[in-house]
């Protein structure tokens, strides 16, 4: 069919299930929360919709703004690390021999089949003082100590385990670990479609491997990079589980504050206002992306 007008029934048959789901389970609840953000609490459970902007003004209090900025910074750092780690992985998978590709893709997707909470707890077991990273380092340390003692040079001081948990670094590691597939898959999709002829031409014309990578591969992978960055940055901005479990006393992110408003503080209007400020930022980023990409169509 050329346009949907030629086969309207088929068009609506395909659109309706997904469209209904989107409206009923996404747009309607989201609008309810949006309406709450203009309300006031009256009593322990009731919210009066008064059209007040007091919640937004309270959400922009310097205390909460500093937490917003911290969350933006941590999300940006985690996204950058995810990009740096994800790009080589996507390159490796897209240049792999065809019979290995499905297996490698499966290995990337496999963590999705495990619950997010379990994956985060697994990170705790890896990063804590008596965790696997420190076990490994201690084994290496003891080995070096034994080697030095064997050579008669002297002993190393006692092994001090690294504090990899309960700080901001742990939160970044957790975000990277959980959201890496979101970066690898869009990048892989773009790199897969890359015409290898460009690379051959570039190498033939005398550019080195690194120059080719920087000038040809990365610019051509831009749509994938942008998709991957958006898919990682936006969930990382609102994360609360990872910072709750892996973070330290300073690692309170805006997601944790919003969660507390909806639970302990029982202040749904304020929580709604904060959530929507995050949403407006997200819309801003998406608008910026389409503005920057307007020439690429």
């Amino acid at each position: 069919m050329e346009t949907w007008r030629q086969q309207p029934l088929v068009f609506w048959a395909f659109l309706l299930p997904g469209g209904l789901w989107l409206v009923l389970f996404f747009l309607v609840p989201l609008s309810l929360i949006w309406i709450f953000s203009f309300g006031e609490r009256s009593g322990p459970v009731d919210i009066l919709i008064t059209g007040t902007l007091a919640n937004y003004i309270e959400a922009l209090d310097p205390l909460y703004l500093s937490i917003f900025l911290k969350s933006l910074w941590i999300a940006a750092a985690a996204t950058a690390v995810t990009l740096i780690i994800g790009f080589p992985v996507a390159l490796a998978v897209s240049f792999a021999p065809p019979r290995l590709k499905p297996i490698l893709l499966l290995l990337v997707i496999l963590p999705f089949w495990t619950n997010l909470l379990i994956r985060t707890y697994a990170m705790i077991a890896v990063l804590r003082t008596r965790g696997y990273v420190n076990f490994g380092l201690e084994a290496l340390w003891d080995g070096a100590d034994a080697a030095l003692a064997g050579l008669g040079i002297g002993a190393l001081p006692r092994f001090q385990p690294l504090t990899l948990l309960y700080n901001d670094a742990a939160v970044v590691i957790g975000i990277v670990y959980v959201y890496l597939p979101f970066m690898v898959l869009p990048l892989y999709a773009t790199l897969e479609r890359l015409d290898r002829a460009y690379l051959e031409a570039s190498l033939d014309l005398g550019a080195g491997q690194i120059r080719t990578m920087a000038s040809i591969v990365v610019p051509l992978a831009k749509p994938g990079i942008v998709s991957g960055v958006i898919l990682v940055f936006i969930p990382a901005l609102g994360t609360f589980l990872i910072s709750d479990l892996l973070g330290g006393p300073d690692s309170q992110l805006i997601g944790n504050v919003i969660e507390r408003q909806f639970k302990a503080a029982n202040n749904w209007p304020l929580g709604a206002a904060m959530s929507f400020i995050l949403l407006y930022i997200t819309f801003g980023i998406l608008a910026l992306r389409s503005y920057l990409g307007r020439d690429d169509v």
Partner: protein
Amino acid sequence: MPRYRPLRSRKFASSRRRFLEGSLTVATVLPAMNRMSFAQGGQVNVYNWDTYIGETTVEDFTEATGTDVRYDLFASNDELFAKLREGNPGYDVIFPSNDFVERLVAAERLLPLDHGMIPNMSNLDAAFTDPEFDPGRTYSVPYFWGTIGVGYRKSATEGQEPKAWADLFGSDQYSGRMSLLNDSDVIEVALKYLGLSLNSSDPAEIDAAADVLIKAKPHIKAFAPDTGQDLLIAGEVDVCMEWNGDILQVMTEDDDLAYVVPEEGSILWEDTMCIPSGGPNPEAAHAFINYILEAEVHGQIAAEIKYPCPNAAALDFIPEEDRNNPSIYPSKETLERCEVAVYDQAKDDLKEKALTRVLAA
């Protein structure tokens, strides 16, 4: 050409239709029948904290009364309240803490109890029959009570055992080795450390408590949401702020751990059994509560989960070393220094904002 319709297939076709009709009828009637039979067998939906009941209590109840139990778990009072906010999603018995009983009563989510259906209430200790947060026990029945205090590892704090909040907040001897809870309870204990009432609603006092915590923050390893005892037993921290029962449960696994209620006093809490309004089976709910209050049942649960029991008759079924253990049943002087938190939305808002300030500092 004559239409060939074998007799057999026609009979099969109509009996298949009849089978479909029959099964559809049964399918629509059966759920309605289920609801009608609630008064006898039936089912009771219980919503409780994790690891907060005996291993066989639920099966024993089903055996004794023939009522099935659907047992769901929650992790915090906030989760319980959030579930009940927009109406009862189908729970018959819930286990809120004292200040949340007040909150639920203010939100009109609780059914007044029919004391006639809970004769075992006479087993309760006199001290628990008329509390401030629920006069005359109109809405709640005590389940367990306890304190919030400090669990610590004896070998790691040799000679410097924590005895007061001052040891945690006022000095850096446990720097990097201690964890606190991550809800407004920390503001309340900071108020106790400053010698103030933990029910203070004075913004200046709450800010002072927040400042104490901000000053102590460089020495705190983590704010643990109810997992302090796991950190203690794993060796991540040597001193942690936790509920007494949680520490006692890990003390059975590791002899090197101990529990103390700090000198300045602490939070005294009580978990209760309530019936939310709009539940499907209030009769079974009353029966469940009455069963739990039986001396032997309540005592057995207490012996397993090691929380102090408000049931005087159940004390006979609690082993003597538990009854004489000051970590489980604190002395009268200790209890006098502890306070019960009272619900007040304005005060809670101040404490939540102070907590956000502490965590952001």
